[in-house]
C-alpha cells in the first residue's frame, strides 16, 4: 500500500480508538440528526400552514363578492413565500425576513425589511440548524481531531521514526489530511444522502433536479470548507511546538473565524452603511409622492396635467365626456407614480443592503466561515438575495393586481359613479393565483462569486503553506 494511504489508515485507526474523538463524532451526528429532524418538522408545519393560508386567501379573494374594483384593490390579498425544501437544512434569514406579505393598492407593506424597523437581520445568532452544525461545530470536531496531528508525533518521538522510514513530511501531511477528511466524509456524505432522499420524498418531482443540484453544490462547498479547516489544523499542528499551543491557537482561530469576525464585520457594515429607520423611510416616500421626486411636481399638479392630456387626447372639454372613467386612470397614474417613488427609495435601501453584504462577502477572505454561511443560505434560498427577489416578484404581482382593478374601473364604470359600479368574480379570476419560483442554483451561485473565490483562495493559501512548511521542516531542530 502507498505510504500516504498507510499513514491515512493508521490515523483513522488511532482516531477511532480515541474515546474523545468517538464521543465528539457521536455528539455531532446526534446534533445533525436532531437538527435535520427539527428542520423537517418545522418545514412540514410551516408548509402546511402556508398551503392552508394560501388556499384560504385565494378562496377569500375569489369569493369576496361583487364590489367596486378599487374596494377590491384595498381588500387585497396575502401572498406567501413558499418554504424551500433546503430551508430545513439552513434556516438562514427566514426567521428575520418573514414569509408573508399583505398586498393592496397604494401601499407596499413591508415584511422583509426588518432592518428598516431598527433591527438588523445581518446580525443573527443561529438556532440549531444542520448548517450551523456544519459551519461551527464540525470545525470544532476537526480541531480536536487534528491539533495533535504533528505535535503528538513530535512529543511522543514517533515523528523521527516515521521520517527515518523514508517518509517525507509532505506524505505525512497528505496521509493525515486524507484520514481526517475521510472521517468527515463518513459524517457528511450520509447526512447529505439522507437530506437528498428526504427532499425527494417531500418535494414535487419537478423540483428534484434543482434540489439535487443544490444539494450537490452544498456538499461541494461544505467539503471544501471543512477540508480547509482540516488542512489549516494540520498546518498549525505542524508549526506548533506542543499540543497545548496548537490547541490554543486553533481554538483562538475558531472563535475569531466563527464568532468575532462575523459579528464585527456585521457591525462594521451597519456603521458604514446605516439603514434609515422605518419612520424616516416611510415619510420620505410619502413626501416624494406628495411633492414629486424633484420636489417641484406636487400631486395636484400631476393630476391636473393628466386631466389636460386626456382632454386633449380625446378632444373633449370635460372629463364627463371621456369614453372612460377618468377616475380609474387618475388612480392608475397615482399608482404608477407611487411605484416610481417606491422603486427609487427601495433601490436606495437595496443599495445599502448590497454594501453591507459586500462587506460580509469581502470578509470571507478573512474567515472562510462567512463564505460558506453566505453560499449555504443562498443555496437553501433563505438568504437576503432570495428575499429581495421574492419582494420584487410580489411587488410586480401587486402592481398587476391593482392595475387590473383600476383599468376595469376606467373601462366599465362612469366618472362620479363609485358605489353604483360593482365588478364580480369574473374580474377577480383575471388575477392569477400567486406562484413563486426561486432563482435557479446557477443564478444563486453567480451572486456569490466573491465567496466562492475566497474559498478557492483559502484552499490555495493553505496548500501553499503546507507545501512550503513540509519542505522546510526537519524532525529535529
Amino acid at each position: 500500500m502507498n505510504g500516504v494511504l498507510l499513514i491515512a489508515k493508521k490515523e483513522i485507526q488511532i482516531a477511532l480508538r480515541k474515546k474523545l474523538i468517538a464521543a465528539l463524532a457521536i455528539v455531532i451526528m446526534g446534533l445533525l440528526s436532531i437538527a435535520l429532524y427539527t428542520g423537517y418538522v418545522a418545514y412540514n408545519q410551516q408548509r402546511a400552514i402556508i398551503e392552508q393560508a394560501k388556499h384560504e386567501n385565494r378562496t377569500e379573494w375569489l369569493e369576496q363578492g361583487d364590489k367596486h374594483p378599487h374596494i377590491a384593490a384595498h381588500y387585497g390579498t396575502f401572498v406567501f413565500k413558499p418554504k424551500t425544501i433546503l430551508s430545513l437544512f439552513d434556516f438562514g434569514l427566514d426567521t428575520y425576513t418573514g414569509t408573508s406579505v399583505y398586498l393592496e393598492a397604494h401601499y407596499q407593506h413591508e415584511f422583509m425589511f426588518r432592518p428598516a424597523q431598527d433591527h438588523s437581520s445581518m446580525i443573527r445568532f443561529g438556532e440549531l440548524s444542520a448548517a450551523m452544525v456544519f459551519q461551527i461545530l464540525i470545525p470544532l470536531l476537526i480541531i480536536f481531531l487534528a491539533f495533535t496531528a504533528f505535535t503528538e508525533e513530535r512529543e511522543n518521538g514517533t515523528l523521527k521514526l516515521l521520517i527515518s522510514q523514508g517518509v517525507s513530511y509532505s506524505s505525512i501531511v497528505k496521509g493525515k489530511i486524507i484520514a481526517y477528511v475521510s472521517i468527515l466524509f463518513a459524517i457528511v456524505i450520509p447526512f447529505f444522502v439522507i437530506a437528498f432522499i428526504l427532499s425527494t420524498v417531500i418535494t414535487d418531482s419537478g423540483s428534484i433536479p434543482d434540489v439535487g443540484l443544490r444539494v450537490l453544490f452544498l456538499l461541494i462547498v461544505y467539503v471544501v470548507y471543512l477540508s480547509i479547516f482540516v488542512a489549516f489544523s494540520v498546518w498549525v499542528s505542524m508549526q506548533s511546538s506542543t499540543g497545548r499551543n496548537a490547541l490554543l491557537t486553533l481554538l483562538t482561530c475558531w472563535i475569531l473565524f466563527t464568532i468575532i469576525i462575523p459579528k464585527t464585520t456585521a457591525n462594521f457594515g451597519e456603521s458604514f452603511y446605516p439603514l434609515p429607520s422605518m419612520k424616516i423611510y416611510r415619510e420620505a416616500i410619502q413626501k416624494d409622492i406628495r411633492e414629486g421626486l424633484d420636489g417641484k411636481n406636487p400631486k395636484i399638479a400631476r393630476e391636473q396635467q393628466l386631466k389636460k392630456e386626456y382632454l386633449q387626447h380625446y378632444k373633449v372639454d370635460s372629463i364627463h365626456k371621456l369614453p372612460l372613467n377618468f377616475e380609474g386612470m387618475r388612480m392608475q397614474a397615482g399608482e404608477d407614480y407611487g411605484n416610481k417613488v417606491y422603486d427609487v427609495h427601495w433601490q436606495r435601501l437595496i443599495d445599502i443592503f448590497n454594501h453591507q453584504n459586500r462587506i460580509s462577502s469581502l470578509s470571507s477572505f478573512i474567515t472562510p466561515y462567512l463564505a460558506v454561511r453566505n453560499v449555504s443560505m443562498g443555496l437553501a434560498a433563505t438568504d437576503l438575495n432570495t428575499s429581495i427577489h421574492f419582494q420584487k416578484v410580489t411587488e410586480n404581482y401587486r402592481r398587476e393586481l391593482v392595475r387590473k382593478m383600476n383599468l376595469d374601473m376606467a373601462q366599465n364604470s362612469k366618472y362620479g359613479e363609485f358605489y353604483e359600479y360593482k365588478a364580480d368574480k369574473n374580474l377577480w379570476k383575471t388575477v392569477k393565483d400567486f406562484h413563486y419560483k426561486t432563482m435557479s442554483a446557477y443564478e444563486i451561485l453567480s451572486q456569490y462569486l466573491i465567496e466562492l473565490l475566497s474559498l478557492c483562495c483559502w484552499g490555495l493559501v493553505i496548500f501553499f503553506l503546507l507545501n512550503y512548511s513540509s519542505h522546510k521542516k526537519k524532525p529535529v531542530l
Binding site: Q13, N156, K160, L161, S164, G166, K474, V476
Partner: protein, 233 residues
C-alpha cells in the same frame, strides 16, 4: 557503508560536531562513547538527515544522505534511546505499519514470527503498545529493522534504561544482525556494552572524535581508563 567526511554541525557559536571523519565498513558495529553533549546523537541525526550539516557530508553506501534521502532511508533502520510507537496500536500493528512505509510486504503472520524471534512475548504481540515496557518497544524496533532488511542500524543509546537481561538480549540481537552483514553505528554511555558488542569504538568529547580503535585491541579496564582520561582532561 557509513562515511562522515569533515562533518560539522554548528548552532550559532556552539559547535556540536567538529569535522568528523569516520568510515564504518559493512558488518562493523561502531560504538560512539562520550558524555552528554559530546556529539554522539548529533552524528546520528546527521546520518538520518534529521538536521542539516553546517559543513561536510554524511554518506551511506556512497550516497550523500541529503541528496539521496529516500534511497539512504531505505537502507537504514533507526532505534532511539526510547523507541516510541503508537500507543493505541498493538505491537504487530505498529510493525505492520512501519514495515509498509518502508516498502515491506510481509503478512501479519510473518511479522508475528519476527516479533517472537526478536524476543517479544507472544502474549504481548496483539496488545496495545501502551502496555509495553521500554525493552519490549526496543524489541519491536529490532523486529522492524529485521523486517525491513536494513543494511544499516543507527542506534541512539538503545540500551539506556534497560535492565541487564534486556540489555544483553538486545546485544545478542545486534550480533546476530552483524552476522548478516548489517552495519551499526551506536551511540552509548555503556562502556561494557560497547566493548562486548562493538567491533570498533570511538570516544567523543565536545563534538570531536578524540580516539577510535578496534574493541579487540583493548581490554575493558583499558577502555575505562582511556575513557575517564579523556573525560577528565
Amino acid at each position: 557503508m557509513l562515511e562522515a567526511i569533515d562533518l560539522t554541525k554548528k548552532y550559532g557559536d556552539f559547535t556540536a560536531l567538529k569535522s568528523l571523519n569516520l568510515t564504518i565498513k559493512e558488518g562493523e558495529i561502531f560504538c560512539l562513547l562520550g558524555a552528554n553533549g559530546a556529539g554522539k546523537s548529533t552524528t546520528i541525526n546527521l546520518f538520518l538527515n534529521f538536521i542539516d550539516a553546517t559543513h561536510g557530508q554524511a554518506m551511506i553506501n556512497n550516497m550523500d544522505v541529503t541528496m539521496h534521502v529516500k534511497e539512504t532511508k531505505q537502507l537504514l533502520s533507526y532505534i532511539p534511546e526510547n523507541l516510541m510507537l503508537y500507543k493505541n496500536l498493538t505491537g504487530l500493528e505498529n510493525l505492520h505499519f512501519f514495515c509498509g512505509l518502508g516498502g515491506g510486504n510481509q503478512n501479519k503472520s510473518e511479522l508475528e514470527e519476527l516479533l517472537i524471534q526478536s524476543g517479544l512475548q507472544k502474549d504481548f504481540i496483539r496488545k496495545r503498545v501502551s502496555s509495553y515496557s521500554k525493552g519490549m518497544r526496543q524489541k519491536v524496533g529490532i523486529a522492524l529493522a529485521r523486517a525491513r532488511g536494513a543494511k544499516v542500524l543507527l542506534l541512539d543509546e538503545p540500551t539506556s534504561g534497560l535492565d541487564p537481561k534486556a540489555s544483553n538480549e538486545f546485544s545478542e540481537l545486534l550480533l546476530h544482525m552483524k552476522e548478516r552483514g548489517v552495519t551499526t553505528l551506536m551511540a552509548t554511555h555503556d562502556l561494557f556494552r560497547a566493548k562486548d558488542t562493538g567491533t570498533h569504538i570511538g570516544i567523543m568529547k565536545e563534538g570531536a572524535l578524540l580516539e577510535k580503535f578496534e574493541s579487540k585491541d583493548v581490554s575493558f579496564q583499558d577502555l575505562e581508563k582511556m575513557y575517564l582520561k579523556h573525560m577528565h582532561n
